[in-house]
């Protein structure tokens, strides 16, 4: 209660002393200048460096985030490349294996074919040789048959050597005429004949 009356009394007192305390006095100018000074100091010397520091920090943080993201992307790319390379290598390995198997098959086939060919060649050559031996044998046989026939005819007929020549030609021509017609028969009979001859 006393305080309240004091407030009122103070206000009245102030009025008597030249002004109500709700009415500004000369202090107003001091306060205005003081605030403008504080505003000047803060506005020119304090706020700009703080804002600069905040901007720089923000930039740093953004850069950090960006770098982290880039690093992650790089790591992912490397991992992807690694996996791709691994897959590729695996595929290549499979291909090489496949190729080697195919080559081995091919080689085996070739070898088998070569062997068969060789067998066939050997067989053919043998047959050819056989054929030529047979032909030679047949020729010799014919010769001998001709000689034998001549000798027999000479013994039977008692002819001379000059007549022999004539006779021999006759026999040979006979045999030659005989040959184409009886070739197949002879082919079968000759070995037997050769064996007996």
């Amino acid at each position: 209660m006393d305080s309240l009356t004091l407030v009122v009394a103070a206000a009245e007192e102030g009025e008597e002393g030249g002004g109500n305390f709700l009415v500004p006095n000369g202090t107003f100018l001091f306060e205005l200048l003081a605030f403008l000074l504080i505003l000047f100091i803060l506005g020119y010397f304090v706020v700009p460096p703080i804002q600069r520091a905040m901007r720089e920090r923000q930039k740093m943080v953004e850069k950090g985030i960006e770098e982290a993201q880039q690093a992650r992307e790089r790591a992912e790319a490397a991992q992807r490349a690694h996996r791709e390379e691994l897959d590729e290598a695996r595929a290549e390995g499979a291909k090489i294996r496949e190729k080697a198997r195919a080559e081995a098959d091919q080689l085996a086939g070739d070898k088998r074919q070569g062997a068969q060919q060789q067998v066939a060649d050997v067989q053919e050559r043998g047959e050819e040789e056989l054929g030529s031996q047979r032909a030679r044998a047949a020729g010799e046989l014919r010769e001998q048959v001709g000689g034998l026939g001549l000798t027999l005819a000479g013994r039977i007929l008692g002819t001379t050597t000059a007549e022999d020549e004539q006779l021999r030609a006759t026999i040979d021509s006979f045999l030659r005429d005989l040959e184409p017609a009886t070739e197949n028969d002879r082919g079968r009979s000759t070995p037997a004949g050769g064996g007996s001859g």
């Binding site: 002004g19 100018l29 803060l42 304090v46 460096p49 703080i50 600069r52 520091a53 920090r57």
Partner: protein
């Protein structure tokens, strides 16, 4: 005893001095200087050690205030429209907060919070409103700016003018009234017997801290909003 305690506290009475025919309240001026030195000291302290790396506590505090004010200015005015509002509102907030919090010190006789003196609050309010008007005229041109007082209808002119005049008065008296009332409450509590005195005093001073913060915030916020309404195209 009670009377003595009450008599020690003089509300609204200042030791004065007269220069050039003007009266100056010495205690308000001293408290203003103290608050100003604290604010400027904090600012220069932070400036000397400002870093883009890990900030100190003081720098973090100023950065927080700066970010908050910036966001508010961006939302209501636009940083590009009036970038100078950021340091203005920031300084208002810091200075008023420091001045208000001087009330917590048990030194009411010598350094009362300077915001409990209309000289300070009117000085700040008139500075702000004058600046707002100048900014409005600059951004919109004198013609459109003064015409918008007669909008949307000409007969609203008196109401608009009263609203405009009420701005500095309400801005100044709101701050003054809240902090001055804090002093009155303390002087009322001082009437209690000494063995009871400490509990309500401590409680009230804690609450006064809160009031001081709120009032500083409101003053700075209203400053930003007034700039916003003066520079906006659609008027109000």
């Amino acid at each position: 005893m009670m009377i003595l305690a009450a008599e020690e506290i003089e509300i609204g009475v200042h030791p004065t001095a007269t220069f050039f025919g003007l009266t100056f309240n010495l205690d308000t001026m001293l408290a203003t200087v103290i608050a100003g030195v604290l604010v400027v000291g904090l600012g220069l302290f932070v400036r000397a050690r400002v870093t883009a790396g890990v900030p100190s506590g003081a720098q973090l505090f100023l950065e927080g205030v700066n970010a908050q004010v910036r966001r508010q200015v961006e939302d209501s005015v636009g940083i590009k429209t009036a970038p100078f509002v950021v340091p203005l509102a920031m300084t208002l907030f810091l200075f008023i907060l420091t001045a208000n919090w001087l009330a917590v010190l048990p030194s009411e006789h010598y350094v009362p919070p300077p915001t409990a003196d209309v000289n300070l609050t009117f000085a700040l309010a008139l500075l702000v409103i004058g600046w707002v008007q100048v900014t409005g005229i600059r951004k919109r041109g004198a013609g459109p700016y003064f015409k918008h007082f007669a909008q949307p209808y000409w007969w609203l002119l008196p109401l608009n003018l009263i609203e405009e005049l009420a701005k500095p008065v309400s801005l100044a008296l709101r701050l003054f009234g809240n902090i001055f009332a804090g002093g009155i409450i303390i002087s009322l509590i001082a009437g209690l017997p000494a063995y009871l005195l400490w509990a309500p005093t401590a409680t009230w001073k804690l609450f006064d801290l809160f009031i001081g913060l709120i009032q500083a915030f409101i003053f700075a916020l209203l400053t930003v909003l007034y700039f916003g309404s003066a520079t906006s195209e659609e008027g109000h």
